[in-house]
Symmetry: C2
Subunit: 469 residues, 2 copies
């Protein structure tokens, strides 16, 4: 990300239109407003939902009870945005982008009334929509997604009115495992049904296996290699079980945590360029390719993966916020870029921490990279210090060059954020051998004398040397 | 650190002599043994003390009761080393190095008997000695250093037999603050007397102030700007108070935590090159400069500071272990290097975490660098997530280039190890602007959507832009 001061075009008041009032869109609007006052730049933002600038990542913790109040997840209300001279129109859905005409058609969700709004500059931040499998029963009462605050409230309402305590979570990615924790915290017996061979397919299967075992240790029933074929309902029409080809899992409540797709129907209809994952394609300034005055960011775009060199869809709030900053700076006439991602993610299930960055083995193969791996076990603190917890660290390094390609960590307290060391090393293009001499913080309450990441780097260095032939 | 496989010189059995049986020395011996068997390489190690390969960094936690048993701090016993064909001679002090003759003179500490041992290769790992101020009363019963396991045992004996509960810690560096925690854990009223303007002089004073305030909040009496002039004893000869020019602080026990000097008397007498901090000077392969067959590492050497470009003395177990690995590899005919340090350190006092890396403001000035600073407050987790704790992050960036020069963090749980992100960024020579787009792990239990280090990088980027004129 690079920034420079905004340059004004004196005399003309421009209009910036933002589609989507969540992280990317409202960060863009806020940053543009910071750089240009309302006399220079009018900002109009359209949001079809009831809420703006909320933390979707926080929903599992609200559902689980760690976050008592919905409104704690709202970073900034519509009123707060309006107080900063952003003309935010809630419950208003943009239904068409007229690129040639430089205007958008918006519909009032409640009244159905439509009108056109012209723009000088446009920001597309339409986010993502949850994958909702097309199968019998998926719309039955008691089956819930967890994408929006309304979804979260509906799930909480179901939990409050359901006597049975059996929950099935469909999907074992980060939303699935976080929802498993939430439902355990609410006192449910939780079954996670997952079509992959192990949970957390964002990890290699050997590391996913550790997650499987740890989740079973938490009392969660793990069903792998199982495709859900339908959702069975009872006489009252409510969900009663989740069915796979081989089995049925009784359920009083079902949570769908299967993932999301970029929400780009509008962009597609407008002829804007989409990538192979269905997300908008932008340049490094987050401008939609080929369109000088249209930017896009957040869950509706594809981002450059700096390790593989190809585009990925990585729907995460942290990227959406960064995109918003970049877009707001550029749309206000400044200069900023987003170089790409290395693919870092952390999640937790109760006291289990799961982290990854960079490429998995299959990503490396797909990118044409040959690699070695090294997996080690170590502890979060000096072995003799109270609370030292075991963690497993796996590194991938390129064959011959030894360049770090990826890291995966599964452990307890102190495991997850250690992935940041690998994320920075990846960004810098370090070799695993260079990593062995990283000057990381050491004291017995914080780390063994060799930090687990360094122990893994040493083993990976040996693997690179052995494979150099 | 780079490594390559060891190359043997066939036919000749060489002798490697190691002076000092702690982290650097025994890591070197063990690594050399891993690469060369006893038929190729004889390894003789001399240790003047009672223990080998112990964690000096763990002593405060043993004294404080977090680590119940002394032997938990011993990573490897003398017997374990001997079982790997290392001829480890305990209670045997090397009293002379005859460089020209390729031999060392060793004395049995108990009997006084002396003998010469010749070497083909020599490792000097004599460590550091605690600074013990030359003042009246410093040797009185009840005044303790905490450098060795014997020191720790002596202090524990004093604590067990002392009825009074008033402890004075002299010095407020990392040993001082860790000992303050240990004594609080033992139920003492603790006063820390410190000649600096704030505790933790490894931080800038503005960050040290936060440590001062937090330690007072923990019930510790903090006395800054106070040079201890003498230690007062009672009628029984035991310590009764610590005196400064202005005041007396009653004490039933006194702990000296003033720091250490490189232990290089032997090396100096042998004419080996020492730096301005009194430590041995080595090349990047940890070879003593100008001596093909002598290596040195651990607390007795100076290391290259990669940020300032000059040598520093950084006595830390984590470096000593790395040095040992490098030396063992090279002494066994392999190839490995230690590039230097960026100066990372973490410590804690009860629940307060303190971390630093790179240059302080005064270090930057001394290195001829112009800089800007940025200090921010943020939280360890999403603000709405339970257990989110405040932390303060300060960054230094070079004027004009924006290159990161240093980072300091003071906070609670989750603060300390965040310094690793800055440590890796420093090693990679990143600018604070490059840091703003680092792909760090985000989920509400682990971080706000903008990690505190990124928030600080954004503010530092603005400071660099404002100062670019």
């Amino acid at each position: 990300m690079s920034m420079s001061a905004a340059r004004g075009v004196p005399g003309k008041r421009e209009r910036l239109v933002v589609i989507g009032g969540d992280a990317a869109g409202m960060s863009a609007a806020s940053q543009a407003r910071r750089l240009k006052g309302p006399d220079e730049l009018e900002i109009v933002a359209f949001e079809r939902g009831h809420f703006t600038s909320f933390s979707a990542c926080g929903i599992p913790y609200w559902v689980g009870g760690d976050v008592p109040e919905r409104d704690q997840l709202i970073a900034r209300t519509a009123e707060e945005h309006r107080a900063r001279d952003i003309d935010l129109r809630m419950r208003t859905e943009v239904v068409e982008i007229d690129v040639a005409g430089g205007r958008v058609r918006a519909r009032d969700v409640d009244s159905g009334a439509e009108s056109w709004t012209s723009y000088d500059k446009l920001v597309i931040a339409t986010g993502a929509r949850p994958i909702r499998p097309d199968m019998p029963g998926v719309d039955a009462p008691g089956v819930h997604g967890v994408q929006t605050l309304d979804d979260g409230q509906a799930l909480l309402d179901t939990l409050a009115h359901t006597r049975g305590r059996r929950a099935v979570v469909v999907g074992a990615g980060y939303i699935g495992v976080e929802m498993a924790e939430a439902l355990i915290n609410r006192g449910y017996e939780v079954t996670v049904v997952n079509r992959g061979s192990e949970p957390m397919s964002t990890l290699d299967p050997d590391m996913g296996r550790l997650v499987h075992e740890a989740m079973e240790g938490l009392g969660i029933t793990m069903v792998d290699d199982a495709e859900v074929t339908k959702i069975l309902t009872g006489g009252d029409g409510r969900v009663r079980a989740v069915a796979t080809e081989d089995a049925e899992y009784p359920a009083d409540v079902v949570v769908l945590g299967i993932g999301v797709h970029p929400e780009t129907a509008l962009a597609r209809a407008a002829g804007l360029p989409l990538g192979e994952h269905g997300g908008l394609l932008t340049d490094l300034a987050m401008r939609v390719r080929g369109h000088e005055n249209i930017w896009a960011g957040g869950d509706c775009v594809e981002v450059l993966d700096l390790v593989s060199g190809s585009e990925r869809h990585v729907p995460l709030g942290t990227h959406a916020n960064k995109h918003g900053q970049i877009i707001g700076t550029n749309a206000a006439g400044g200069y900023a870029t987003f170089p790409g991602v290395v693919g870092t993610a952390v999640s937790k299930v109760c006291d289990l921490e799961i982290a990854r960055t960079g490429l998995r083995e299959k990503d490396a193969r797909r990118a044409g990279l040959q690699y070695v791996t090294a997996t080690i076990e170590s502890t979060s603190r000096a072995g003799y210090y109270p609370g030292a917890e075991t963690m497993t660290v796996k590194l991938l390094a390129e064959r011959r060059t030894g360049r770090l390609l990826g890291a995966q960590i599964v452990g307890r307290e102190g495991a997850g954020k250690r992935v940041d060391v690998a994320a920075v090393a990846l960004t810098a293009g370090m070799t695993v051998e260079q990593m062995t001499s990283l000057d990381l913080g050491y004291a017995p309450p914080f780390s063994p004398v060799w930090d687990p990441v360094l122990v893994a780097a040493r083993k990976a260095t040996k693997a690179v040397m052995s494979a150099t032939s």
